[in-house]
Amino acid sequence: MTALSENLSKPVVASSRPAASKRRQRSWLALRGALDRLAAIIFMIVAWQLAAQFWIGEKWISTPVKIAERLWEMLLDGSLQIHTWETFKEAFVGLLMGVALGIVGGMILGLSRRLSEAIDPVLMGIYSLPRVSLAPMFVIWLGIGLLAKATLVASMVVFVVMLNVREGIRSIDRDHIDAFRSMNASRWMMWRHVMIPSMIPWLLASIRIGIGMALVGAVVGELIGASQGLGWYVSSSSSIYDMTGAFTALVVLMILAMIFNFALSLLEKRLMFWRPSVSS
């Protein structure tokens, strides 16, 4: 793997510009991008603070300073960790369940056109259904524990993954399959070298969408029935007009989403090294 990542960092196209200066320019661009992002965040925080103090009012949208104080308090009394861990577990376990089921389902649908065409209308129907509306039923069936929320999350994630994996299988380059067939490659060789690698970009794209859905699913599940978790914290804070509490939980949720996405980016870098367009 190290050899591969070294290759990636080399310039792909030779040009008259010396490599060293090109590299310097690229790291300057990366630095500038990071500074831009930092500036955008600071701008939003300052704007929020000013809007809360001089315009909308603190009791409606709290303030960044109060949220920071609350975060600190919650960190010290341990409640931050408890709620975050709960929501993380629900989203993560649900995401894993949904992705696993989605891969299996997508492969079956991708390989059997007939089955796929038969159940396509039903599939699209369920897919378009707002699955958060199933949340109360999951609570009734599975209780208010981890399983109910994870299942809700999985029910949201599974379809995106399934449809993507199906599309991934269908769009495999015919020539790759023929090249392997012409050399009498075994089914196993074909899966290992052609099918699975061709599917991975589609799978990763669906996981990226799935992350957002997973957090929505976990939070909605907690709104319906829970005794802890960030979603529960939002609803219980709101019910006593504690806007600082509600916004604090939302900020933590946002950070959680960023961490999920960051982890996925690392995975993408590892798995998609061969893609010329992967550089960002």
């Binding site: 023929d178 012409s182 050399m183 009498n184 070298h193």
Partner: protein, 281 residues
Amino acid sequence: MTVLEAIRTPAAVDRAGASAPAKIEVANVTLRYTRKQDQSESTALDNVSLRVGTGEFLAIVGPSGCGKSTLLKVINGLLRPSEGSVRIDGKPVENVPDGVGFVFQSDGLLPWRTAEENVAIGATLAGRSATDARQRALELLTELGVQRAIGKHPHELSGGMRKRVALARTIAYEPKLYLLDEPFSALDAQTRIHVGNRFIKTLEEIGQTVIIVTHDLEEAIALADRVIVMSAAPGRIAAEFKIDLPRPRDYYQSRFHPDFRRQQQQLWDVLQREMAGELNS
């Protein structure tokens, strides 16, 4: 060229052409594609018959869409003919037979594997162990003058390098029959000469039966022992022509041989007669 000599066969000694024992017999093959949406059929090959001798170097020329790739896939057993049959070494082709190497029009290299990994796959499928296959891949890439491709992924390689890696993968599979589908059509003129020369030298060295598909008449004459011309869709064999140029050939130099123009002229006459006949019928 020690690496290639290892897989050299007696056939290389005598390129007897069509008079040698038949390597391939295509008999009255018709192939119809069925469109998935409305089950409508279109004929890609129409009653094609063809005999290729062991060790022969055959070129198939024809306009794009006339069924050249389809014919190669039928010979390789990747497509089943609607009518007619194909035999390789006298045995009917049912599934994909062993010992047939196919170099695809798009090089067909896996973008997620390095050049040597791609080549090693061919060697693995020829029955070599993993370490052996890798060793073989490195040898072949060196042999074909693409050492620079080692450790790189296909997107980092030029078109000419990719073609040579694709040929190396096919050679690594050690086929007794090479099917090359327009291997040079995507290359610019200069690269084409360079890569074309590598291909012809290597294939002459190996000495196995070769079918090369091209839409370039001069290229066909320069490379082959025999040229078969296909008519526009639905594909039929319009003309056949034996080429008497000495071997070893050179991809470009062969065109300056005194006999080249004469052969080209004769082939052109045959073609014109065919086309005239086609227009009248």
